[in-house]
Each structure stands twice: as structure tokens, then as C-alpha cells.
């Protein structure tokens, strides 16, 4: 049975098809809890919170069937501000906790809120295994490239050589690229967005919510206290032209100041010798051979190559958008199917028969 489940066609079921719908129309206000938001003024987390509260009414789900689970860190206070069910757990463990919840309650829309330290340092193991399993979870990874709550140490996404309180002579370790990591961990949905781009953020969240299985959304988020301006190059209109590559499914990967055809003057092409991707000037190269983005490609190779275009130091050529979105069997669906199959094969469990087993004897009083 397990074989057919693993290799058979993926059920067409929507990620949210088992989640009850709300009785009435909702607004962002319905998702605001009565708790005062306590992030630092100017923190990028506010924008993400507003975007999530603003977009959830679109899904029209019964809010009692939505759960936010977080770990530890600034962003992990998120659940307290959502008027849904929520758990603020312990450092790094939110994906594991959410896995148990989602695997046993398919009628819930389960969200994980985590940060670069929480998800990629102390909780790295849980993150990669959640992605590999493809449990029905939506993971929002707030990446500010710094430890905020512990007041400013470098994080696993900080650029090498970063001067922080714990690295006065510069950090020594190379950073993770969360998108590359997720693709390597067999993630079925991987996207990147930016806190300040409400429209793009909302669009990515919408796609993540509807994805059956684990969705990882990396959100570049500004920590204005300990790492202010970390993503300025992506936000400043002029610099962003060169820095940001907006991925759109089915469209050629073009960016930069517009060329004659109105699309970006730079394009991404595949190097025929190495198979790797590189950036070209469309005016010189022409439009032939420009990569057309295919988030649904079965092979993760091109998505991975796209994730490697970004320079970890300057953030030049940073793609944002959905890198990868493929259908593959969802853990909690498979688990539920096994339970059903077990009942079909052996009948519903009979406790008395179980306790008796095959070898008994009787003592007459």
C-alpha cells in the first residue's frame, strides 16, 4: 500500500480543502488579537504582520482552524498578535511541533513563524526534515541576517566578516542561502519576498497558503536596531533595478533598466558549457536563449541555479518570487491514507482481540 501511495498520482486536493470556511466575510481586524505589539518601532516585522492579517481574509477560512506556531526570537512573538490559535514554543523547535499538529489535524491551516537563527541555526535539523517530509505547513522565515532578541550577534545568514558584538574582528563562517538550502532539502515550495513590498509579499503568501505540502517563504526583514539597511539595495528604487530579479512563472527572467522591448535590459541565460546560469546584457546577447522561469519544473536544478545568482555580500542579482512549486505526496495525507488502509485491511481495531493475541490459556477458579 505504501508503495502505491508514494509513487501513485498526487491527490489533486487543495492544501486547504479540509479546512472549514468562515461563516461570514472577514477583515484584517478579525485577525488582530487584543495584545499590544511590542516590536521595536520601525521593525520590519510590523509590515509582515499587517500583510498576513490583511491577506488571511482572502482565504476565508474559519479563524479557529488557523494555528500559528513559532520558536524563539523577535519574529516568534508573532502568534501573540494573531487572533487565531497559537503557540510560542522553544528555540528552533516550531517545525517539529507544527508537524505533530498538522499530521494529526488535517482540518487546520498551520503556519510556522521563525527567524534566521531559529530556523537555520538551533532548529536547522527540524527545518530540513519538515521540508523533506512535505507536511502541510507554511513556514515564514523572517531573515534579518542578525540575532535581534539577544542584541546583535551574527546569524547563520550574516555575510562573512560581519562585525558584531560576538565577532569584533569579523565573523568567520560562510552564510547559508536559505533558498538554496530549502531546495537542497527537497522542498516542494520555495519563495523569497521582502517585508516592504506589500503586494509581492501578499502574492507569495497566497501561493504558499494554497500549496499542498510544506511551503518555505523567506522574507527579507529589516532589523532597524542591529542590522539596519541590510536589504536597502533591494529596496532603493534605483539600486533595486540592478539588484532585484523578479521571478514570474512562465516569463523570461529579465531585470534591470528596460531594453527596447520594454522588459528588463538584463537577462539570465544558461551557459552551454557548464549548465550554470549567468546574467547577460540583452542588448548584446539578444532575446534568444533567455531563461523562461518554470517554478513547476520537476528537476530542482534550475531553481537551485537561480538561487545561486545572488551575491551574498552585495545582494546583487537577488531573485525574489516563487523559485519552486511542485506537487508531491503530502505527509499528513499519506499518514491518513495508511490509517484508512489499516482499517480496510484489518477492520477497525478491537481492543479485546488485541489484548488476547494468539497464545492464551485459561485458569478456572
Amino acid at each position: 500500500m505504501a508503495d502505491t501511495l508514494t509513487h501513485g498520482p498526487v491527490q489533486p486536493s487543495h492544501a486547504l480543502s479540509l479546512v472549514p470556511k468562515a461563516d461570514a466575510a472577514q477583515s484584517a481586524k478579525d485577525f488582530k488579537s487584543d495584545q499590544e505589539v511590542r516590536w521595536c518601532p520601525g521593525c520590519g516585522d510590523y509590515a509582515v504582520l499587517a500583510a498576513v492579517q490583511g491577506f488571511l481574509p482572502e482565504l476565508g477560512l474559519a479563524k479557529e482552524n488557523i494555528v500559528f506556531v513559532s520558536g524563539i526570537g523577535c519574529s516568534s512573538r508573532f502568534p501573540y498578535y494573531m487572533n487565531t490559535y497559537g503557540m510560542h514554543s522553544i528555540h528552533g523547535r516550531a517545525p517539529a511541533i507544527a508537524t505533530g499538529l498538522a499530521a494529526s489535524r488535517r482540518d487546520l491551516s498551520v503556519w510556522v513563524v521563525t527567524g534566521d537563527g531559529d530556523a537555520l541555526s538551533i532548529g536547522g535539523n527540524h527545518l530540513i526534515h519538515a521540508l523533506r517530509r512535505n507536511v502541510n505547513l507554511k513556514i515564514l522565515l523572517f531573515n534579518n541576517r542578525i540575532y535581534g532578541l539577544t542584541k546583535g550577534q551574527y546569524s547563520p545568514t550574516s555575510e562573512a566578516g560581519k562585525i558584531t558584538k560576538s565577532t569584533p574582528m569579523g565573523s568567520l563562517d560562510a552564510p547559508f542561502n536559505p533558498v538554496s538550502l530549502a531546495i537542497g532539502a527537497e522542498a516542494s515550495f520555495v519563495a523569497r519576498t521582502v517585508d516592504s513590498d506589500r503586494k509581492h509579499l501578499t502574492d507569495v503568501l497566497r501561493q504558499a497558503a494554497e500549496h499542498p505540502g510544506t511551503a518555505l517563504v523567506e522574507i527579507y526583514q529589516n532589523c532597524n536596531i542591529f542590522n539596519d539597511g541590510a536589504f536597502e539595495v533591494l529596496k532603493d528604487k534605483q539600486q533595486a533595478l540592478e539588484a532585484v530579479i523578479r521571478l514570474q512563472d512562465g516569463e523570461p527572467v529579465r531585470f534591470g533598466a528596460p531594453a527596447e522591448d520594454g522588459l528588463g535590459g538584463k537577462g539570465v541565460v544558461r551557459d552551454p558549457a557548464t549548465g550554470d546560469l549567468r546574467v547577460v546584457d540583452v542588448a548584446e546577447h539578444g532575446t534568444d536563449g533567455i531563461l523562461v522561469h518554470d517554478a513547476g519544473a520537476a528537476s530542482p536544478t534550475t531553481a537551485f541555479a537561480l538561487s545561486r545568482l545572488a551575491d551574498p555580500d552585495t545582494l546583487h542579482h537577488t531573485p525574489i518570487g516563487v523559485f519552486r512549486s511542485v506537487r508531491r505526496p503530502v505527509y499528513d495525507t499519506l499518514l491518513a491514507d495508511q490509517l484508512e488502509a489499516a482499517v480496510e485491511q484489518n477492520g477497525k481495531g478491537d481492543l479485546s482481540a488485541l489484548l488476547h493475541g494468539k497464545d492464551t490459556w485459561t485458569v478456572v477458579g
Binding site: 482552524n65 490559535y85 484489518n346 485459561t362
Partner: protein, 628 residues
């Protein structure tokens, strides 16, 4: 099979009241299987029994070496017994290493059946025998039966198209057949078992059955075995009922399934494989038709994390592990204490510290279970005393977890996990009703008249908080590991509130209802009390009986609840001049007793990876009585 026994057999039959047999061989010789089968035969015959498997952590240690020896000891009797026996009456030694590793445990006069085929010069030299112990007179004090088990097995299987090596593998079944003849064991079960086990390889099934029968017939016909033994069924020892043989890990697994049924909650197990707890994961994985979800996590922390997530969602949540796993789970147990969600943490204890002795038993996680977390994080502790009692312990742990919304430790150990004994199967109506109520409505009215749900508004009796599961409209709430305001559950750093919450969580656990401890003091005049917990019950009780048979007076009591202690424990302890606490650690319970009750409880400790022997504890108790 019994029909094949010749009716005119002239061999002598002796009646015994009890026998201890130890099967010993290489870890690849199938000794655990042989022991299991002999145990099943014995159980179905109606003897009382107790078993002690003992095997190395290595899957296949180097062949023929002392560390590679695997053994299985079985004690069976026509009356009720409590331990796998101090010393074997019979040793089956499949090779020189098995003889050498076990001979010191045998009393003079014991019977030894050796597989002479394995006593080659090289094999003997490997374990340091300069001369053959079968010939140098060193075994003169024993009754030795030299049997070429391998040769006889190969000979018996010559009709089968098997090589010598492959045929020789059935020698354990030959030995089982021989022992089955010696002790008049019923054999149908083993033949049925072999046919089932090798259903896909009928030739192997036939070969094993043939070897088994050949072993029986060998005993019947050969001169060397002049006597066979009968051990009558223990009909007086058992109350009326239907029985089966059961190991601790199996009983514990069934207890969890039963708890889920009795609570009408789906069972969720989050676990990471670890010896000696993995069998619970294996067993529960077979019962998906009971709605059981088993989740093999990426690590110990994820195992308990997933369980806690499932508990938040309204499942009966369980995580199973051993001591090293508990260390990794500590932070999440603390979170569960803070979230006040029901969860069962099963710790099948093994020798420590660190990796320690993975396949051997110990009771050294008591203080870890009691205190091994940051902050004041009290957790109730339940500890079964026998393998079969693991069933009721699981139900009891579920009762406490669900009633008080708290994680609960269930402390088993390697000896309980793998040891087995007869178990009277309970009728469904004997099982406790564990149904619990989820919160469905608001429970508090604010000053402005708004009805709200307060996740930390407690039941005044149990101090348990309401369990409102996602999907319940109007009760949306947030919980977390940060200190919460009493009642509302909102984040609070207020000093007085923290003091209140810490003391309230403690008071809740202190108030968990557990039965009074009962004292066995038949004369009422004992001056010495022996107090144990967990798997020491068998050897302590056997020792106490022995002391009483010798004319001395001693009281015995056994703890099944270690947090909170039974309410009458202090009174009980103060009634005796001397309190002895045998433990397989360096005195952890004694430490708690001394700290809690200011009584001079004296630990008697052992950490050999093996259970106490009854004789050893008899001497300790006798010494306390005589020189008290």
C-alpha cells in the same frame, strides 16, 4: 508431537516445583528466539514464569568471543514466582564463550548441556581455555551432557537440500527440542510458530521443525538423558481468568492503545529509535487501525515536539525514549509543564551515564525525571513494578496527564521492557474511564461584561487548566513558554504573578491523586521495612519471602508513584526502626525520602546492569534485622 513419545518409555520422570534454565550462545545463534519459544511453551502449559534476556549492544559481535555472548534465562514453577531466578539449574552452552561467560553463575550440581562441535582448539583458545574444560576436570562438580548439537542437527536435516552451514543454523531448534523433552513442554505452539515465521520459505520451516523434533527424539532415546522433569502448572498461583505471556514493552504499548480507547482520543506517538524503547514504536506502528499515528522523528527533540503539537491539537500524546533521549527532550518537557498540556513521556531506563549500557537495566534516571529541567518544572512520575504492570502504568499515566493537563513520566527499565511474565488479560469493563472534556465555551466575563476564554483559568479541584483545541470557535488563544498571567494566559513579567504561577504548578502536581502505599507486614511486628520502586519488586519480594520462611519478621512496601509520593508514605516510614531501599542506582530514591521526610532511609545499591538477586537481598535484609 507428544503423540510421538513412546508409550512404553522406561525413563524416569521427576517432579520439580521450579526450574531455572539459561540458554547461552553467540549473538547469531538465535538464543533470544529459543528462549522466547521455550517461554511460550511454558506459558501455555500454565506455569508461572519470569524471564531475563541478556544480550550485547552490538548486533553481531565478533563470533565466539565473550562480549558476543547472548543469553536468555527463564524461571518457571508450579507456584507464583517473582524473579528470573538467581542461579540457573540448567545451562545450555552453544560454544566455549557461552560456557566461560556463564559458568560462574551456576551452582555446583547444575546441569550443563554443551555443544561439543564448537569446542575446537581455536574456539577454546579464543576465550582463554588452555585445555578443554570438558576434559580437564574443571566441570567435575556439574552434571555435564556433551552433545554434538551441530553434527546431530546436520544429520537430522540430511534429506533437505541444505549445506552444512545452513543446516547447522537450526541447531538452536534442536536444543529447544531437547529441552522441551526434558521438561515435558507442549510443542504444538513452536511448530505452528515456525511454520508461520517461515511461511514464505516452506523448506526452511520444514527443516526447523525437523531439527526441533530431532532434538526431542534425541532426549527420548539417548542414554545420556536418563531423567526428564515435570513442573506442574501453577494452578493455585493464578486467579481465574484468561492469561497470556507478556513483556514490559508489549504491555506498555497495549496500555497506551487501551488508554487512547478509554479516553476516546487518537493516540499520537512521536519517537526516535533508541534501545531499549524502540519496541514500543515498532509495536504501536502495527496498530494504525486503532487510529494510532506513529511518527518517527528526525531526533529525540522532534519526537517530543511533534507529540506536544499533537497534544495541542487534542490527541493523547506520547513520546518514548531512554535516558539519553530524556536529556535531549528536557527543554520540551519544560515547555509542556508551562503549556500545561497532557503528554506521556516513557523512559525505558538503561545503564548510564552517556551511552552507558544500552541493552542493560538501571534505575538511575529517577532524579533526571524528577528534577532534570530548568526552573521549577514538576512532573508526576509513575513506575511499574513488573512487566505486566506496564499495562496499568500506561493507563495511570494517561489518567494523570489528562486529568491534570500535565506531562507525566512513566519510568520503565530494560529489565521490565524485555522481561516477561504471565498476565491476566483484563475485561474491557475493568478498564478505567479516561474520557475528558475539551473546553467548548467561554469561561470568564470581563469587567465590561464581555465573555472571553481564559486558557489559564483553573479547575478549583484539580488546578488543571481548560483544554481548548484548535477548531473550537470563540476560544482562539495563544500559549507559550514565557510566563503567563494567571487566568488570561497573556505574557506577564510581574513578580507576584510569577511567584503565584510557579507555586500553582507545583501545587497542581503535589495534589495529583495517587493511592496510598500498602504495607505487607503480616505479623504487624516488623522493625525493618524494605521499600522499593520499579523493577526491583520481584527480587525484593522473593527476598522478603525467603526471610520470612527463615522465621524472621520484615515489612515490605513498593512505590508505584514517585511524584507525588502517596500521602501516607511519611507515616509509614516513621513506623519502622529501619528502612532499607534497594535501588539499581547510587541511592536516588533514598535521597528523596531523606530530604522529604527526614527519615534515615538506608540505600542498598547496585549498578551492574542486571537485576538484584533474591539471595543477595535476603542477606541484606537479614543483616538489618539481626544487627538493627
Amino acid at each position: 508431537m507428544t503423540s510421538q513419545v513412546s508409550q512404553d518409555s522406561a525413563k524416569e520422570v521427576r517432579r520439580l516445583d521450579r526450574v531455572v534454565i539459561r540458554f547461552a550462545g553467540d549473538s547469531g545463534d538465535g538464543m533470544q528466539l529459543t528462549g522466547d519459544r521455550f517461554t511460550s511453551e511454558t506459558a501455555s502449559f500454565g506455569n508461572d514464569l519470569s524471564t531475563l534476556p541478556n544480550f550485547p549492544a552490538e548486533i553481531r559481535a565478533p563470533a565466539g568471543t565473550l562480549p558476543g555472548v547472548s543469553s536468555f534465562q527463564l524461571h518457571f514453577a508450579d507456584h507464583d514466582i517473582l524473579t528470573p531466578g538467581d542461579a540457573p539449574n540448567v545451562l545450555v552452552a552453544m560454544n566455549p564463550a557461552a560456557l566461560k561467560a556463564n559458568i560462574a553463575d551456576l551452582p555446583r550440581g547444575a546441569e550443563i548441556i554443551v555443544n561439543t562441535d564448537e569446542f575446537t582448539k581455536r574456539a577454546m583458545a579464543k576465550v582463554g581455555y588452555a585445555a578443554s574444560p570438558l576434559e580437564d576436570g574443571s566441570l567435575d562438580g556439574y552434571s555435564v551432557h556433551p552433545v554434538p548439537l551441530t553434527t546431530l542437527t546436520v544429520e537430522a536435516l540430511k534429506e533437505f537440500d541444505l549445506g552444512r552451514k545452513e543446516a547447522g543454523r537450526s541447531k538452536n531448534m534442536f536444543a529447544l527440542g531437547l529441552l522441551s523433552w526434558m521438561y515435558h513442554r507442549p510443542t504444538e505452539g513452536t511448530e505452528r510458530f515456525l511454520r508461520r515465521k517461515f511461511a514464505k520459505k516452506p523448506q526452511i520451516a520444514d527443516a526447523n521443525v525437523a531439527a526441533f523434533r530431532a532434538g526431542w527424539n534425541f532426549g527420548e532415546t539417548t542414554e545420556d538423558f536418563a531423567v526428564s522433569y515435570e513442573v506442574a502448572p501453577a494452578s493455585q498461583a493464578f486467579p481465574a481468568g484468561t492469561y497470556r505471556n507478556i513483556s514490559g514493552n508489549l504491555a506498555l504499548s497495549y496500555g497506551l492503545v487501551a488508554a487512547s480507547q478509554q479516553a476516546d482520543l487518537p493516540l499520537f506517538l512521536g519517537s526516535y529509535p533508541i534501545t531499549p524503547a524502540s519496541d514500543i514504536l515498532h509495536e504501536l506502528s502495527k496498530h494504525k487501525n486503532f487510529g494510532v499515528r506513529t511518527f518517527q522523528a528526525e531526533d529525540e527533540i522532534a519526537g517530543i515536539g511533534a507529540a506536544l503539537g499533537a497534544a495541542f491539537g487534542g490527541a493523547l500524546a506520547v513520546t518514548t525514549t531512554s535516558g539519553p533521549g530524556v536529556a535531549l527532550k528536557s527543554e520540551t518537557i519544560g515547555l509542556a509543564v508551562s503549556l500545561e498540556l497532557p503528554m506521556i513521556v516513557v523512559d525505558v531506563q538503561r545503564g548510564g551515564p552517556s551511552t552507558g549500557l544500552p541493552t542493560k537495566t538501571e534505575q538511575a534516571d529517577l532524579l533526571q525525571a524528577m528534577y532534570g529541567r530548568n526552573g521549577e518544572a514538576p512532573v508526576p512520575i509513575v513506575a511499574p513494578a513488573t512487566p505486566a504492570e506496564c499495562f496499568t502504568a500506561a493507563l495511570d499515566a494517561a489518567r494523570i496527564a489528562l486529568t491534570y493537563r500535565t506531562p507525566v513520566f512513566l519510568l520503565s527499565d530494560g529489565y521490565l521492557a524485555n522481561g516477561s511474565e504471565p498476565w491476566r488479560i483484563p475485561e474491557p469493563d475493568e478498564l478505567p474511564d479516561l474520557r475528558t472534556q475539551f473546553a467548548t465555551t467561554t469561561n470568564h466575563t470581563l469587567d465590561d461584561g464581555t465573555d472571553v476564554f481564559w486558557p489559564y483559568k483553573r479547575d478549583p479541584q484539580t488546578l488543571a487548566r481548560p483544554w481548548a483545541v484548535p477548531g473550537t470557535p470563540g476560544l482562539e488563544h495563544r500559549v507559550g513558554g514565557i510566563e503567563k498571567q494567571d487566568g488570561s494566559g497573556n505574557i506577564s513579567y510581574d513578580p507576584a504573578n510569577h511567584e503565584l504561577m510557579v507555586r500553582t504548578r507545583q501545587a497542581k502536581v503535589d495534589g495529583v491523586q495517587v493511592p496510598d502505599i500498602t504495607v505487607d507486614d503480616p505479623s504487624g511486628g516488623a522493625k525493618v521495612l524494605v521499600l522499593g520502586w520499579g523493577s526491583t519488586y520481584g527480587p525484593i519480594t522473593a527476598a522478603v519471602r525467603r526471610v520470612r520462611r527463615g522465621g524472621d519478621v520484615v515489612a515490605q512496601a513498593h512505590l508505584r508513584h514517585l511524584n507525588p509520593f502517596p500521602a501516607n508514605l511519611g507515616t509509614v516510614l516513621r513506623q519502622y526502626d529501619k528502612v532499607i531501599v534497594p535501588e539499581m542506582n547510587l541511592g536516588q530514591l533514598a535521597l528523596l525520602l531523606r530530604a522529604t521526610y527526614l527519615v534515615d532511609a538506608q540505600p542498598y545499591t547496585q549498578v551492574r546492569g542486571l537485576p538484584f538477586k533474591a539471595e543477595q537481598l535476603h542477606d541484606v535484609i537479614k543483616e538489618a534485622i539481626d544487627h538493627g
